[in-house]
Amino acid sequence: MDTQTMKSQEKSTKTTERISGSEAIVRCLIEEGVDILYGYPGGAIMPVYDELYKYQDKIHHVLTRHEQGATHSAQGYARISGRVGVAIATSGPGATNLITGIADAQIDSTPMVCITGQVPSHLLGSDAFQETDIVGISTPVTKWNCQVTRAEDIPEALAKAFYIAKSGRPGPVLIDITKDAQFNEFDFSYEKCTHVRSYIPVPETDVSKVEEAAKLINAAKKPLIVWGQGIILGEAEEQLKAVVEKAGIPAAWTILGASAIPTSHPLNVGMVGMHGNYAPNVLTNECDVLIAIGMRFDDRVTGSLNTYAKQAKVIHFEIDPAEIDKNVKTDVAVLGNSKISLDLLLPLLEQNSHNEWHQKFKDLYEIEYEKVIKNDLYPTKEGITMAEVLKEINIQSEGKAAIVSDVGQHQMIACRYANFNVTKSNITSGGLGTMGFGLPAAIGAKMAAPDREVVSISGDGGYQMTIQELGTIFQQKAAVKVVVLNNDFLGMVRQWQQLFFDKRYASTEMVNPNFVAIAEGYYIKARKVTKREDLAEAVAEMMQSKEAYFLEVCVEKEDNVFPMIPSGASVSDIRLE
């Protein structure tokens, strides 16, 4: 660090001025273009809050109701905007409360910078009040982290933090800053970081690998694309669409890849994975060339690896070299940024339509429609289904809303049935499966993209894990639409208990409070729907509301999400009932 500090100071032509470390932190954030940050004050971070008070016309601090909420809001902000989300907290419990969000951002590759206060450096290691080794604790779940004990090291640490968080495969970075470093004065100047010598964010695309990939794709009779969030993070939506259309390849998506190509696109064949669509899962084991783009073959996508796409040649377009051959052995690995790689691929592809192959997807969709989709969307039974609620939201939003889901049954239903016609519209906790993610993430998303309709969809379980963020909605006047699909159960766990534990419903039944009264307690307009005939009108009222709105829909208690690949089974053994 020291040699680089010296170098950057030599290069810097800016004049310096003498300010405190805490003012420097806020100035660094402004230099990085941060307009909103989420956090919670406390002893060891108070000098920074004092500066945030002074700079409040330039940077807006959102007081969340819990530090975990701050991280999820920062994640929601990042996921909808592509910018770096920022969360700030004090030392000790403030810092440890960030960990779930950091772990979530790590596994879902979300750019986030977390700043924590720390006890003064002379007290480090003394078990001081609210001292915790947050650098040690956060190490396995951060892309990078460091502790700053000297004011003069703050600008470089923060510049590096933003650069590392956003570049290459994004991820969370934590900077822990001792209170004395916040108080001490130094000569401030700021220079953005553009290079860290030990770090290659984007490996160069090897053209010969692209050519090999093109050769395989052109020779394929039954090619299948599975794309992931790498398309959205790499802003390669147009490139992907062009490739899919030119080569006529059916394209499926992982949960985090959703919305990169509109749901309505004829070559979009749906979601892969445990609760994904029937056709892309079954036909994964029938395709001759599997083209994975910006995805990481998560176990929820592949099911049993021993029986996953064994018949296919596998091409993997990926920015992170550590993902190559990690789970699935590839025949051709194309490292690099998806946008650049797909741009190189496109001219090498032959025009094709693969009509017969497409027909297979259509045939299997018909089976899924008859067995699952029809009953979800147009049920004949009395109880409301979760999918019906999504259907109404689709109608009202014309598929343009950003859907922020929590974790569980409603999440799978939201991903399966929401119409995603705009990119960056599916904000959900994929890899970590963090219940409680949805509500605070929706706040961050709405604040980052105030012009977009943002609908938070949670179950009654996850909603209550971060329900206190209703206070943030109220205080910030964030016009988030909050939907709770209430089945009085921890539905996904209950489904597994039904299927795999002989219906022993251990601690999955929920005795729930009056959700409408709670929302109203926060002065949020609220409504509860129990009958199908009220649903359309209630959703319409919610979507037309200019302010935040809470809608509880009491849904069928013991519905299950299908299709389903039982854990450890093969993708082609996906169950429809």
Binding site: M1, T3, V135, G136, T139, P140, K143, W144, N145, C146, Q147, I164, V196, R197, S198, Y199, D320, P321, A322, E323, I324, D325, K326
Partner: protein, 177 residues
């Protein structure tokens, strides 16, 4: 040797000199339940660049994956793995023994001589024998000395240089530009 079969590998990791990095690297092994047989950190041939030498017992498929995870760390410059046949390595062992034995048990002096070990220090209470070499050689010396009674025994981590050239210097040169 098949890529599925476990064997000892020496992993050489060139890194920036950073306080938290040891934690970050050891966590990669810990998460996957891989026992670190030995670990050594030292400066490397390049100024300002540290080198970790970690010995693990793994198969080649998994060591490649681990290398990917290690190289992904921001402050890791480059990581390599080698089988023990591809490196020149040394391990050091230290033996602390009661001084009276040196004179009462003449055999001990012969053992030290035959093992190419050396006496580092002698005082009226104890003497210390040092032996560098392969692990087996140090264990052999231990087995020979142990009947006489060893007060303390310790063995260092493995340190190694490779038989083939490491292109790390030119790599760093290119990063700096």
């Amino acid at each position: 040797m098949s890529t599925e079969e476990k064997q000892l590998y020496s992993v050489s990791i060139y890194t920036e000199n950073n306080i938290g990095l040891l934690n970050r690297i050891s966590a990669i092994f810990q998460r996957r339940h891989i026992n670190i047989e030995s670990l050594n950190t030292s400066p490397s041939e390049i100024e300002g660049v540290s080198k970790f030498t970690i010995v693990v017992n793994m198969n080649e498929v998994n060591i490649k994956k681990i290398l990917g995870q290690i190289e992904k760390q921001v402050e890791v410059i480059k990581a390599y793995y080698h089988s023990l046949d591809d490196i020149i390595y040394q391990i050091a062992g230290l033996f602390k023994i009661k001084s009276e034995l040196l004179f009462e048990e003449r055999q001990i002096q012969n053992i030290i001589k035959e093992s190419n070990a050396r006496i580092v220090t002698v005082n009226k209470d104890f003497f210390v024998v040092e032996k560098s070499g392969k692990k087996e050689e140090i264990v052999e010396l231990y087995n020979k000395l142990s009947p006489f009674g060893i007060m303390q025994y310790t063995r260092s981590g493995l340190i190694a240089v490779t038989k083939e050239e490491m292109k790390i210097s030119s790599l760093i040169e290119s990063y700096n530009n």
